[in-house]
Structure formats: C-alpha cells, structure tokens
Amino acid sequence: MSDNKELLERNLKEQDEFEKNQVIMTPGQLIAKRFFRNKLACFGLGVIIVMVLFCAIGPIISPYGEYEIFYFDVNTNAEVRMDKVSGNPNLGVLVKAPISASHWLGTDADGRDVLTRLMYGGRISLTVGLVVVGIELVIGILLGGIAGYYGGAVDMIIMRLCEIFYCLPFVPIMLILSSLFVGYGISPQKKIYFIMIVMGVLYWASVARNVRAQILSLREMEYMQAAESTGIKTWRKILKHLVPNTIPIIILIATMDIGSVILTESVLSFLGVGIAWPYASWGNMANVVTDSIILKNYPNIWAPPSLLILFTVLAFNFIGDGMRDAFDPRMKR
C-alpha cells in the first residue's frame, strides 16, 4: 500500500514539475531547448563563434598586411619586408616558404603570409555570406510577401518574374557581369560589393517563393480569419500576425544560404571572377588545389583555407538543420 502511495506521490510530483515546466517555457525557450538538444547544431554554433572571433580579432594582432609580399636576400637568406627593398639588387620574392616562426603557415605562391590572409579572407567570405543573404531576404520577403498577401495579378506578375530569374544561368551571368564591372571602371575594392549585390539579386527568387507559400497557407489559418473579423488594419495584420509566423522559415533560409553563398564565392573565384586580387577570400585561397604541384608539395598553402570553408559551411548547415527541427512544433519526439 505504502508503495502505491509513494508511487502516486511521485507521479503527482512529476506531474507538477512537468506542468510547471510547461507553464514557464515560452515558445522561444522551447525552440532553444529543442535546438540545443541537437549536438550537431551546438557544434555548429561553436564553430561559427570561433570563426568570427578569428576573423575579427586576427587581423588586429597580425603584424603583416593582407597583401604584403616578402622578399629574401639571395646571399644571406634573410627575410626583407616590402618597405626595405630599395637599393638591394640581390632580392628574390619569398614564395612558398615553409612553416616558420615568422610565418606560422608559410607564404603562398606570390610570397604573402598565409595566416594573415586567412584572417582577412575570412572577413570577406563571412561578409559576402551575410550581405548576399541579407539582400536576397529583403527582396524576397518584400516581393514574396506582396505576392502572397495580395494574390491576383500582382501575384501573377511577381511569380513570373521569379520564374524568369529562376531560368537565368547563374555562372555565365556572373562571368559576364563581372567583366562588365571592370569594363565600366569599378575598382577592385568596390567590385566586391557589386558582386554581392548581383548575387543577392540573382538569388531572391527562391526566398520569394518560400515566403509566398508560407503566407498563402497562413492566410487560410483560423486565427487570420479571426483577425480579419475583428477588422484590424491591413498593415497591422501583416506586421502582427503574418510576419512573425514567417520568421522561422526566413531564419532557416538565411542560415542555409550563408553557407552556400560562401561556396559559390569560392567557385566564382575559381572561375576567375570572384573577389578580385589582391584581396583574399577563403574561396580564392582554396582554389590553389587545382595546381597539382601545390597540392602535392605545399599542404600549408591549400589545406587551411579548405578546412576553414569546410567547417564554416558545415557549421551553418548544422545550425540550419537544428533550427528547422527546433522550429517545427510537430516535432514531439
């Protein structure tokens, strides 16, 4: 009997606790809880934090410039920095130097410090990811939202526009536009921003489609009908009821796309139209793998940028997956 009572008490207690937990947890906390249950997602988050710190703080600590080249004296083998070159006729460029105390990851095929370039390159790669995704989200949410909410002719036109952008071949267009930038005298520093804008503009279509689909289904929900019947203003309906409910899918698209944009940038660099020389990006640093001599003999040049890309993109993917699982309220398991 006492056993039973004890059991009953424990059950009650558990139930209390359970209810207590249920009551305390906001939806955000629930999502966070589900998110942090996913170990891969936690790992991803950790990696991204480390990367951001590395790129943000690294360049401040590094004693070298992003595109500073190093020379060496042919007779003494002593390293000579760029501003001390004048008047010395016996110099060679310090290309493909091995790992040393002054160059922790050696120098690349043009005689620049690999570690320093990794830090600057990371800044570019991460910025490209964030900005491109930002642009595609702004355009995509705006047009997708309008199409989904108003429907009819507006929807028709925007969706056809989507299809047109869907049919545009990305690589050829990037190649052609990139050469256009130069043709119209856009300097290498500014070219980066133009590339980001073009990528964002070419990518908005899928965001718009997703947002539109989401809004379409939300419009049919009972609570929207309820909101409708209370007679609130359109903008309030959109801001208060529709937008918050599209946020999960937007965050999801964002995390997933940052990774793929970083990869796309590396492919563009490989094709010779990405981030312009002399600036570094992980993508243009990694594409030395196609040089079989570097691939065979200089892992210090090709492996670090490749690994950083791998971990970063992987991390964004893990986070994206974790978020999706976390956001989905039907995931009860």
Partner: protein, 679 residues
C-alpha cells in the same frame, strides 16, 4: 577557371603568320641523338603504334583559312605541308617548294615553285593552282579569317579586295561627284548623299552626344556644342547634331568610312542606314590579282609594289591546300568553310576524326618525304595543370606544360620516365603605359623607376626566364644583346620624376597636381600566379607611401584585351608571342594596329621605314638598337621577361632518340613527324 584563362592567354601567342609553329621545340634535348640513326631502326619492333600528343582545348576548326586557336593549328601542322618552312635557326628553307626574289623596276618579284611529283593524301597531284587559290581565298572581299595576305602590298591586291563591297561603303568611297553608274543608278546616289547619309550622320552625331551625356562628360543631350569637344571637335554654340556631323566630315576630308570606324559611339554609319544599303554589290569586273601570275603547272610569280623584309615568309610559309577540295568563287567561300571538320592536305598524316577531345590521324603513305613510321598520331586536349602527371602516368607521350622550377624538379626525379627540353619563347612579357592617358613623360619615367623586375622574375622563373631590357624578343637576331637597364628600380628617383612633372605633397600627404591625386589604373590578366604580380604589389606599396595610388585590376583576358585596345587603362600587363621578324611598325608605328600605348612619333616611323628597307643585317641591327632606345626613352613600354618554353617526352613509350638533333624555338618534333618512332 584557371585552365581556360591559360588557354585564352595562349591565344595571345597565337600565330602572327597564317601558318603553324605552335609549340616551339627544344634546345638542350637530353638524348640528342642523330635522327638518321633512328630512321634506320626497325619500326616493326615497336610495342606501341600510336603517338599521343597532349595539347590544350581545341575548337574543332581544322581549316587553315578559318582557324583561330593555336591548338587547332597544331593538328593542321600534321595534315598540311607548306612550300617552305623554318629551319632550326629560323631561316626559311625549302619544304615542298622553293621561293626566289628579284628586284625589277622598283618592284619585287617572288617566284614560287613546287617540287615535281607531289600528291595530296587523296592521290590528286599538287599543282601551283593549289597555292594560288590560297592567296585568292585570303584576299576575297568576304574573307574573315586570320590570314593577313590580303593586306600585303601585292600588285592588284587592293583592286581585287575592293572589287566588291557593301553598297553604302561603295557609295561613300565613290564620292558625291561620281559619274560612273555601272553598279548603281544616279537616283540611288543622289538619295544617298542628299537624304540618307545626312540623316544617318545626324543620328551618328547624336549617338556621340548621347554617349557623352550617359558617361557624364556633359549634361544635356541637346547641347551639341558641349559634347563635341569630348570627341575632339569644335562646333559653334547652338549647333545641331547635323552640324556636328558636317564638321566631322570636313575634318576627315569627306572620308566617311574612316570617320565611321574611328569616331563611332557604338553604331557605324552602315547600321544607321536602311538595310538595303548593306547589300554586297560587284563594283568592278576584277577577277584576278594582277600581281599573281601562273607561269607553268608548278610555278607562279607574286609581285610586290614595295620592299618587305618578311614577304618571302608571308607568301611561302603557307599550307598547300587542294583547290579541287577547297572550292570557292569570288564572294562565296562556303566551299572552304564547310570543310572545318575534314581537312585534306599533303602533310605527314591524314585526318580521320575528332571526337572525345581527341583528334585521330593516320600516316599518309603519299607524303613526299616518306610515310611516317608511327602509323597513328593522336592529338588530345588535356588540362594544363596535369600535363606532367599525364606523361609520368604514360597516358600521353609528348606535351608542352608551362615551365616551372617545380616541374623540372619533378622530372629530374623521374628521369627514367620522362625527359624534357627547354627553348626560348619567341616573345616577351611587358608592362605598357598609355601615352595619351599618362601624357606627361616624367610621370611615365617615374612609373618606370618603380618597377622592380628582377626579384619577381627570378623567383617566378628561376633559370627559366630572364629579365630583358628592350621591347623585342631576344630570339630575333636583331635584338641588341648588350643592352642594359634603361630604368632601374629607385623610388627616390621616381619621386624626383613625379616632382618634375609638377606633383607635390599636399596637406593630407597626397601627391597632387592642381588638386588631383596621382592615380594610375593598371590591368593584369589572372594576377595570382603571374610573374608581374609582385612588381605591381611593390609598386602599389611604394606609390601609397608617396601619397599616390595604383589601382590594380585583375581581369579575365577577354576583358583585359579590349580595354587595352580601347585605351581605357593607364597601364597594363601583357605579352607578345610568335614574333618572326624585327618589323615593329604594327606595335610602335603611328599607323600600327596594335599601337596600344598610343605614342606617335614621326621619328620612330622614319626609322622603322628605314629598317624595313635595310637588307644588310649589321646595318639593320644597329638601326633596330637605335629604334628600341627611342622607345625606351619615351617610357611607354617596360619589357619584363622572356621565358622558356618546355616540352616533355615520355621515355617509356617514345623513342626519344628519334627527336630532332637540335630542337630550337623554330624547329621541334612536329617538323619531322616522319622520322619519329615509338619504343
């Protein structure tokens, strides 16, 4: 993609001449045995019956008239034989024919003759008509290939080329007062000059004004007077577009064609005229080029109006193409065009097929020097980055990677599998400065003093490249070997030059003149892994220290090239290739088509004209040295390097003792396919 870039880069090196010489042979060939010894060897004992040559991506235009890729031409080399070819020293020697010159009444008569008994691979005999037809096709009014034979000063050539033209060009050339109405009637002519041309001209001028507005040179599309000065013309205040047009016509003395080609802001006059003016009309019944005369079945003469030191190469170093196969009539070359995928000639090999990136060729039994010993030749397009690995894995037998110190290391470690040869590339890399954009010679000289070439070339090429001091390839005998550096790297000196040009540091530490900072824009193709990259990096750094700015644009070759041509860059990095003579008029003459630096000097023109007429070598060499010094003094061209070309051979499959005894810039394995043997 890197590979693509390299390929396009290599197109720069594409032939100067209509004919061959793709990869350029080997000098210190490791085996170096006498080819005759190999020639007597028993070819029946070979374990392999196919020679595989690795080249780069081909375009499949296997037609000597129309190819544009140097790699397509590599195939043509094996299929066609030529009248003359180059020997190891770069001297023209007889191949299947012979050429002789004599001077008569100020004209130069070249007699081209063929050997007796030559046949094409289809069994048809070779006659002089097959040679003459080559000249005619290249001179055809509708010809659009790469051969420059049509531009030679051959007697009657110009008349033939001009004997057919599109209507508006013909009308424009004939002039307002033309009274010859054989090809068009008077009404057409009157309408053209009175109505259509002025209205097209007005559009043409308006387009220029619109262009100026679009690019911010002036701000009002109706204000013609403000736009015209941007184009170098002065028109009265309140003038119309039509007035502007008339001013231009006057400036060109009524030469509408040149006007249209030079001043255009997009459309040519022809675009702005009615489509009926674009028709091709026969202007004169000129069916022959008077300077080309057939003497007998195997001989013809070609008469030049003026002396030309490379005329013999231009007319004799051409492939012999069967006129019964490559048929044409004046104005219609379709019978030649449709043979792109089926070349037929009298060379060592017969074209079989091109697919899967592989050209398959089989030995030609009718070849006049004897059937080649290797029954099959395959030319395969491979990736530049893996050429060495392909040879080491015995997938291919001969190829030409771009030489680097690491490749040499790798080959030395595998000397039982592969051997290599190095020869000087008949070209050079340079940094050019546009004299119109950087008009102050002191600024140009200052820039020259900032180019630290030695460390860059030394670490990039090692022994595989040398810094050169004059803008001409040292493979030419006329190159002044004793030339020393004209400008040495010296930032202090550079600053002096800039100051002499009127630049001074302002309060913000910027190097300014009239309030404008010294800013130079430079273009380079594929900067990462370019020998000139460290030079520019250093230059940018030094200029930043001085308060000036160097903007480096890393461009695709296909973008760089038009920008350089269009004069849109202050400075650029490029290379010349396949130079076969010391005629520099195209690059440095006032009329030169490739005078990208836009530096025009009558004294330079005079000395160039002198060089072309100077037959005596020593005198010519002295003149060339003088010319090159003048170019250096003008500070428009900084020669950077001359590199070596590499060829590698597979020792396992290929009998390297059958290679030429001495392979040079001008003579390599593909000039003697018939004696090569496999193992």
């Amino acid at each position: 993609m890197k590979k693509r870039m390299k390929k396009l880069g290599a197109l720069t090196l594409a032939a100067v001449s209509a004919v061959s010489m793709v990869a350029c042979g080997s000098g210190n060939n490791a085996t170096g045995a006498n080819p005759e010894a190999g020639a007597n060897g028993a070819s029946g004992n070979s374990a392999y019956d196919t020679l595989v040559v690795g080249t780069q991506s081909m375009e499949g235009v296997f037609n000597p008239y129309f190819y544009s890729s140097a790699y397509d031409n590599q195939v043509l080399d094996a299929v066609f034989s030529s009248i003359c070819s180059l020997d190891p020293d770069g001297v023209l020697v007889d191949e299947s024919g012979h050429v002789e010159v004599e001077e008569k009444d100020g004209k130069y008569i070249y007699t081209v003759s063929l050997q007796e008994g030559l046949v094409f691979s289809d069994g048809e005999p070779v006659t002089i008509d097959d040679v003459i037809s080559f000249y005619y096709v290249c001179a055809d009014p509708t010809y659009d290939g790469m051969s420059t034979i049509g531009t030679l000063d051959i007697e009657g050539m110009a008349d033939y080329k001009k004997s057919a033209a599109v209507l508006w060009k013909a009308l424009a050339t004939a002039g307002k007062d033309n009274t010859d109405f054989t090809s068009w009637d008077e009404a057409t002519q009157t309408k053209f000059w009175e109505e259509d041309l002025p209205s097209a001209g007005e559009k043409f001028a308006q387009e220029i004004v619109d262009y100026c507005v679009a690019n911010g040179y002036c701000d009002d599309a109706t204000n013609v007077a403000a736009a015209a000065p941007n184009w170098g013309f002065e028109v009265a205040e309140g003038a119309t577009a039509l007035d502007f047009w008339n001013v231009m016509v006057d400036a060109y003395d009524g030469d509408i064609l040149t006007l249209s080609a030079t001043e255009t802001a997009g459309s040519s006059i022809g675009d702005l005229l009615d489509a009926s003016y674009a028709e091709v009309i026969e202007l004169a019944a000129v069916d022959t080029i008077t300077g080309i005369q057939k003497i007998d079945d195997l001989t013809c003469t070609v008469t030049f109006n003026s002396p030309n030191i490379s005329a013999d190469k231009q007319i004799a170093w051409i492939p012999i193409m069967p006129s019964h196969y490559y048929t044409f009539t004046k104005g219609d070359l379709s019978g030649c065009r449709d043979k792109n995928n089926a070349p037929l000639g009298s060379g060592e090999y017969i074209f079989e097929s091109y697919d899967n990136n592989i050209v398959t060729l089989r030995a030609n039994e009718n070849y006049f020097r004897g059937c080649p010993k290797i029954p099959n030749l395959k030319i395969q397009a491979v990736d530049e980055e893996v050429k060495v690995d392909l040879v080491l894995n015995s997938e291919i037998d001969i190829t030409d990677p771009s030489a680097s110190l690491e490749i040499i290391d790798q080959l030395n470690q595998n000397s039982d599998i592969a051997s290599y040869s190095l020869v000087d590339n008949p070209g050079y890399g340079y940094i050019g400065i546009n004299a119109e954009r950087v008009s102050d010679i002191n600024v140009r000289k200052g820039l020259m003093c900032l180019m630290n070439r030695e460390p860059a070339v030394k670490s990039y090429y090692g022994d595989l490249g040398v810094v050169i001091e004059r803008p001409m390839t040292p493979t030419l005998a006329e190159y002044p070997d004793d030339a020393t550096a004209y400008y040495t790297y010296d930032p202090a000196k550079a600053l002096e030059y800039f100051e002499a040009a009127g630049y001074a540091k302002d309060a913000n530490g910027k190097l300014c003149k009239n309030g404008e900072q010294l800013k130079i824009t430079v273009g380079i193709g594929e900067a990462s892994s370019h020998p000139s990259t460290p030079i520019l990096t250093q230059m940018a750094n030094d200029m930043a220290d001085m308060g000036a700015e160097l903007v480096v644009n890393d461009l695709q070759f296909s973008v760089l090239s038009p920008m350089v041509k269009g004069g849109e860059l202050d400075m650029w990095v490029m290379a010349w290739g396949n130079s076969t003579d010391c005629d520099l008029t195209q690059m440095f003459g006032s009329e030169g088509g490739t005078n990208y630096q836009r530096y025009y000097d009558p004294k330079l023109d005079a000395i160039q004209a002198e060089i072309l007429k100077t037959v005596d070598f020593d005198a010519r060499k002295a003149l060339v040295a003088e010319e090159l010094d003048m170019i250096m003094e003008a500070a428009v061209y900084m020669p950077v390097y001359q590199r070596k070309n590499m060829e590698i051979y597979n020792e396992v499959t290929f009998n390297t003792s059958t290679l030429p005894a001495e392979t040079t810039t001008y003579f390599n394995y593909d000039d003697q396919y018939q004696v090569l043997e496999m193992r």
